[in-house]
């Protein structure tokens, strides 16, 4: 009797367990898979002067055959034809790679210092890293315009200190350098936090053991601390690299006319040229490109688990 009861309990438990597991999948289905399929479908359509500005718009099940016959890969072929798009993709990947590297360079020492700080002040330090989020992202990027523009705060500072003559001005605004500054500034918390969580977990006696075995501190960092923080490095790098590749606001506000990024191209296609199918194709390709780093990330996460 008791056994039967238990089995029934388990069945019920099983159902509620499935429900719990289903929630994130349903979420992903509704807000990722479905929109992606729509985008993918649009990318196979043709431009039209209509509302929405593409054909065919899905109308009724009877037209499925009709509808399918009108879809083709012509937008994708066009993307490979025009070197502008390839260049935009490559330039995005280049900017994202360099930015991620810069972020690591800046973020690692910060995370390390936080992890080595006394336990009592660590929560405060984490707070300070997240603090910029309390101001709108857009406002913070605008603030950089104020700093970097030729008659901005940086010029003023350098002139006041005397490092720059009164006639000179910093020429950073509307260059790739400004984009890098903006990206590193904006994404720093996303790099620091995973690094910090990896470094904070590290057992300090490991470094003592390395020391004890004849390994000086700097070498111990490269032999022990850094390899053990690799999951954090990879997590931080991926979390930054992926959105930076598709970044639009920062290059648009801080970058120059020659700062080529796929996010900007996408925007131009959608809103400037009103070519939704082509813009969708650009977005789909971007996603496919980013699947590679996402897979690396996934793989690493599995290894950690």
């Amino acid at each position: 009797m008791a056994v039967v009861q238990e089995a029934e309990d388990q069945k019920q438990g099983g159902a509620s367990r499935w429900l719990v597991v289903a929630v994130p999948y349903v979420w992903l289905l509704l807000f990722f898979v479905a929109p992606f399929l729509i985008i993918f479908k649009i990318s196979l359509s043709d431009t039209a002067i209509a509302l929405p500005p593409y054909t065919p718009v899905f109308d009724g099940f009877g037209a499925i055959g009709d509808f399918l016959s009108q879809l083709d890969f012509e937008n994708y072929i066009f993307l490979t034809d025009d070197p502008l798009y390839v260049q935009a993709y490559l330039s995005s990947l280049r900017i994202a790679t360099i930015s991620t590297f810069l972020l690591l360079l800046v973020g690692y020492p910060i995370a390390l210092a936080m992890a080595r700080a006394p336990t009592s002040i660590r929560p405060t330090l984490v707070m300070m890293v997240i603090l910029p989020f309390w101001t709108s992202f857009l406002i913070r990027v605008y603030a950089w315009i104020g700093i970097l523009k030729p008659d901005g705060l940086l010029t003023l500072l350098l002139q006041t200190v005397g490092l720059m003559g009164p006639e000179e001005q910093v020429q950073i605004f509307r260059t790739d350098t400004a984009v890098f500054i903006g990206i590193v500034y904006s994404y720093l918390p996303f790099m620091v936090l995973p690094l910090y969580s990896a470094l904070e977990k590290m057992d300090n006696t490991l470094l003592e053991a390395a020391n004890d075995l004849g390994c000086p501190p700097l070498k111990a960092f490269w032999r022990i601390t850094f390899p053990l923080s690799l999951p954090g490095v990879i997590a931080g790098a991926m979390i930054c690299f992926i959105p930076i590749t598709g970044e639009f606001v920062i290059p648009d506000l801080l970058g120059g006319a020659d700062t080529l990024m796929i996010g900007k191209t996408l925007w131009t296609e959608f809103f400037g040229n009103r070519d939704w199918p082509l813009a969708s194709a650009v977005a789909v390709i971007l996603l496919v490109l980013l699947v590679v780093p996402i897979m690396i990330f996934q793989n690493q996460q599995k290894k950690v688990a």
């Binding site: 006696t205 490991l206 053991a209 020391n211 075995l213």
Partner: protein
């Protein structure tokens, strides 16, 4: 794991030789952390090839003392001499000491082999030599088949042995062991204790072990330093510590003991000449043959180990001294031993231990029995501190 007891230990007692030069000398070492004094002007000599234990409760400063020798802490005052040389300011990675950490501190991203090779690689030894030494170490700790595993694929006992192999690989002049066997179960711990002694004798190294486990210290050590609140209370061989503790603290810390407070009534003993010391402990009259400085009227403690107390239902012929009458209050059956807790007629409690030499399940003495506790003159101790 085959039990090997190794070669029979020869008589080893450099500390009794006044001309012997200590290998390690702690000289008036004081270590303060803020307001807290962890080690208080402590002086201690340790000799070459000695297996030395620092024994004490947690927080007594034993680990701090060891960490100062390893170089992880600098003494606030005093100096540490290693082979006569002051090692003040020498960083840990240049000291000829290696440490086996309590947590083992194995590098989780390296295989067993790599862990053991780590120290040797720092010395830039040729590859072949490193490989040979790693093999030798793996053989020593019987882990040859586990060379390619990562630490998280090993059991606690195996990890502990990797830690030992890693700390021994560089043949340190002094091996420091910080509570090395704490995480092991009793059986494995005992086995490993014998292995440690075996390895120490085989390699002829000086071992300094920190432990709070008195049995462990007794088993492995040539000498033990019992510490309390940053000072050393007694330094002696395990047998001396057990049989002749110099204070109530040591007597109480090591093993089980009955302590009665009292004062000296008559004494025939003086320093250098043993004689009978008679003590009155609030009506209980005891006598001890011992070399003792206490004079008549001195407040002292009388102590006797439970296994030296005889328990019997029969009244002894002489009940005037070293004979107590009481009721069996509780019995702790430990298998090899039974501990009788006897409530004396005046309400005080004494313990007597008896080896269970026969296989009787029903013991002749049981709860509520009236018994006599007796012990010979040389069984007890007078503690003046």
């Amino acid at each position: 794991m085959a039990k090997s007891l190794g070669p029979v230990k020869r008589k080893f007692s450099p500390w009794t030789d006044p001309s012997a030069i200590p290998f390690i000398r702690f000289e008036n070492i004081t270590k303060r952390f803020g307001n807290f004094t962890a080690v208080d002007s402590l002086t201690l000599d340790i000799y070459e090839r000695e297996f030395f234990s620092l024994l004490g409760p947690s927080g007594c400063g034993k680990t701090t003392l060891m960490r100062m020798l390893a170089g992880f802490e600098e003494p606030s005052e005093g100096r540490i001499l290693l082979q006569g040389k002051d090692i003040q300011g020498v960083p840990p990675y240049r000291r000829p000491t290696n440490m086996m950490f309590q947590s083992y501190a194995l590098f989780p991203h390296m295989t067993v082999e790599k862990n053991i090779a780590f120290g040797l690689e720092q010395d830039k030894l040729p590859k072949g030599e490193i490989a040979a030494r790693v093999d030798e170490m793996l053989k020593l700790v019987k882990l040859e088949t586990f060379a390619k595993r990562k630490p998280n694929q090993l059991s606690g006992g195996q990890r502990q042995r990797v830690a030992l192999a890693r700390s021994l690989a560089k043949r340190p002049q002094v091996l420091l062991l910080d509570e090395p066997l704490g995480a092991l179960d009793k059986k494995l711990r005992e086995e490993t204790q014998f292995e440690l002694m075996d390895i120490q004798t085989k390699l002829g190294l000086t071992f300094l072990i920190v432990t709070h486990d008195q049995e462990e210290a007794m088993t492995v050590s040539d000498r033990i330093a019992v510490m309390d609140k940053g000072v050393i209370v007694q330094v002696a061989t395990p047998a001396e510590i057990y049989e002749a503790p110099n204070s109530r603290y040591v007597a109480d810390f090591i093993g089980d003991i009955n302590i009665l407070e009292g004062s000296v009534t008559t004494t025939e003993s003086a320093l250098g000449s043993p004689g009978t010391v008679r003590i009155d402990c609030d009506g209980i009259k005891v006598a001890v043959d011992q070399e003792c400085q206490a004079v008549t009227g001195d407040k002292v403690a009388f102590a006797v180990r439970p296994e030296k107390v005889r328990i019997s239902p029969d009244q002894p012929p002489d009940t005037s001294v070293n004979a107590l009458h009481g009721e069996v209050w509780d019995i702790g059956y430990l298998g090899d031993f039974s501990v009788f807790i006897v409530k004396l007629d005046d309400g005080r409690v004494m313990r007597a231990a008896q080896a269970n030499v026969s296989r009787l399940v029903d013991r002749p003495i049981t709860f509520g029995d009236m018994v006599w506790l007796t012990w010979p003159l040389d069984a007890g101790l007078v503690l003046t501190r």
